[in-house]
Amino acid sequence: MPWFIKSKTSEEKRKPLKDDIWVKCGSCNAHVFKEDWFNSLSVCPKCGFHGRLTAYERIGQILDIDTFKEMFGRISPSDPLSFVWTRGSYKDIVKQTQDKTGLNESVVCGIGKIHDIPVSIAVMDFRFFGGSLGSATGEKILLAANYAYEHKIPYIIFSASGGARMQEGTLSLMQMAKTCAGIARLREKKIPYISVLTDPTTGGVIASYAMVGDVNIAEPGALIGFAGRRVIEQTIRQKLPDNFQTSEYFLEHGFIDLIVERKKLKDTLKNVLQYYNR
């Protein structure tokens, strides 16, 4: 499944410009003091636009202070296909991305607490190969599910991904089945699984673990969809509705339970999990 294809302009629009003290909102172009921007959880105080978060920023916002313990952090991509394209070899670009982001893979996993409720958590980071799902990503998401299974604690995945990673070919595709196998097993022990969809959640990730939560929660205005907008327009040769492939569109069509603002997300997760009555 492709990474979500976007035109350059919309890509630029979403990325807040980072100066020394100002952040430019990716939606309304307002200039916001960096401090204010981060105090508002990277949500624009003027228009409510939800900017993208790194995995560790997300973990900091969701888990109780000092409760996060990272796991499976050594698992990282190999280059099973010796994949080379115009940008160079996959191996080299993985290395560059790791150096640039400080991440080993597109997902950070571990355990922590949400208002004292212990959880197993997997948080995707869009900066690493567009948050794409590769072999190591799939392995980590499965291991975090297995941890939840063995310790009987709820599992939460925060998705931010363009889909399956092309550079690992069919092995990436198979990670959709692998991660879903881990999720499916949670049902045997009646362990809760909550999926949180953030901007963007598309392709092979929306078509696997992101869509099968007991409760599916999305952040407002997130890009959520299966096929790339351009692919669809080429297929049907007609213009698509404006809110097509957004959180709001998915809520309207019955595929997510809730759209929750970032500042209420932690409390909402607690409210949902407190109904887990075992």
Binding site: P2, R74, I75, S76, P77, S78, P80, L81, F83, V84, W85, T86, R87, Q98, G134, S135, A136, G138, A164, M166, E168, G169, T170, L171, S172, L173, M174, Q175, M176, A177, K178, C180, A181, A184, R185, R187, G203, G204, I206, A207, S208, A210, M211, V212, G225, F226, A227, G228, V231, I232, T235, I236, Q238, L240, F244, Q245, Y249, H253, G254, F255
Partner: protein, 318 residues
């Protein structure tokens, strides 16, 4: 009559020549020696060509317009087929069909994509690109198979799930994701066979199995070579390079442990000999059905989970 690709040109010429010689003297056999000589040469060249296909050539064979489709296999491999229609909630997708079927003496649930072979059929079958109701019908039939204790056989041949607006609004990703999750725990054996194109999530949505098989000239990929080329190379004309890079062939995927067995096709591809292809499919399916029927449900599910847990190559050294 066969349709030839560019890379089969010399073979096409030889076969034409053989036909011509044969037609000159059908009874007196003046050219017997020449014909035998040519046939021998042709066979050698075929063995050389089809034994060393590039990934892109394999993609083309997998998409051959005359390649057998599920309806062909239903009549050649199976008997007593009872087609079951509809997802019980929206409609009946003709791109993905299924029903009760018998193979040898074994009763099974047969599910699969069905491409068309001409324009009218392809319109009816939406080029084998299923919509959410197709995947939901597949799941309904799998649950029925579970109730009736029938193994499930899935025949995969699709470019991918239909990427249109109806797909999105009716929940294509939800339909696929639910199938992946349900198939992981389905309490009957599942055998998936890629017969032509295994196109991404639309293929995998009926592709989670205890045995995953491929015909020798089929392909199975995360994205089409064209899609990959237009994203990574920014130009679809690099599709041959993308096809090489994606390693979508049965031989590569067996080495990567994505699939369990390759079913050999007749020389030149399945479209050259439907009967022979069907016999091979039948032989291999029966073998796997026999093997899987020996396991208890709990053993089956444990093995399936372990099988999928083991797929993927990564490093844990960093």
């Amino acid at each position: 009559m066969n349709d030839y690709f560019d890379f089969e040109k010399s073979i096409a010429e030889m076969e034409k020549m053989i036909e011509k010689l044969k037609s000159i003297s059908p009874d007196q056999n003046h050219y017997n020696d020449e014909i035998a000589e040519l046939e021998k040469k042709c066979l050698l060249q075929k063995q050389e060509l089809y034994g060393n296909l590039t990934a892109w050539q394999t993609v083309q064979i997998a998409r051959h317009p005359k390649r057998p489709v599920l309806l062909d296999y239903i009549s050649l491999v199976f008997s007593d087929f009872v087609e079951l229609h509809g997802d019980r909630s929206f409609g009946d997708d003709q791109a993905l069909i299924g029903g009760f079927a018998t193979i040898g003496k074994r009763r099974v649930m047969l599910i699969g994509h069905n491409k068309g072979k001409n324009v009218d059929e392809n319109i009816k079958r939406n080029f084998g690109q299923a919509k959410p109701e197709g995947y939901r019908k597949a799941l309904r039939l799998m649950r029925l198979a579970e109730k009736y204790n029938l193994p499930v056989l899935c025949f995969i041949d699709t470019q991918g799930a239909y990427p249109g607006i109806e797909g999105e609004e009716r929940g294509q990703p939800e339909a696929i994701a639910t199938n992946l999750t349900e198939m992981a725990r389905l309490e009957v054996p599942i055998i998936a066979l890629v017969t032509g194109e295994g196109g991404s999530g639309g293929a995998l949505a009926i592709g989670v199995g205890d045995s995953v098989l491929m015909l020798s000239h089929s392909v199975y990929s995360v994205i089409s070579p064209e899609g990959c080329a237009s994203i990574l190379w920014r130009d679809a004309s690099f599709s041959p390079q993308a096809a090489e890079a994606l390693k979508p062939t049965a031989q590569s995927l067996l080495a990567l442990k994505v699939i369990d067995e390759i079913i050999p096709e007749p020389l030149g591809g399945a479209h050259r000999n439907y009967e022979q292809t069907s016999q091979e499919i039948r032989r291999v399916l029966l073998k796997h059905l026999k093997r899987l029927s020996a396991f208890s449900t709990s053993k089956l599910l444990k093995q399936r989970f372990e099988k999928y847990s083991a797929i993927g190559l990564f490093s844990d050294q960093r």
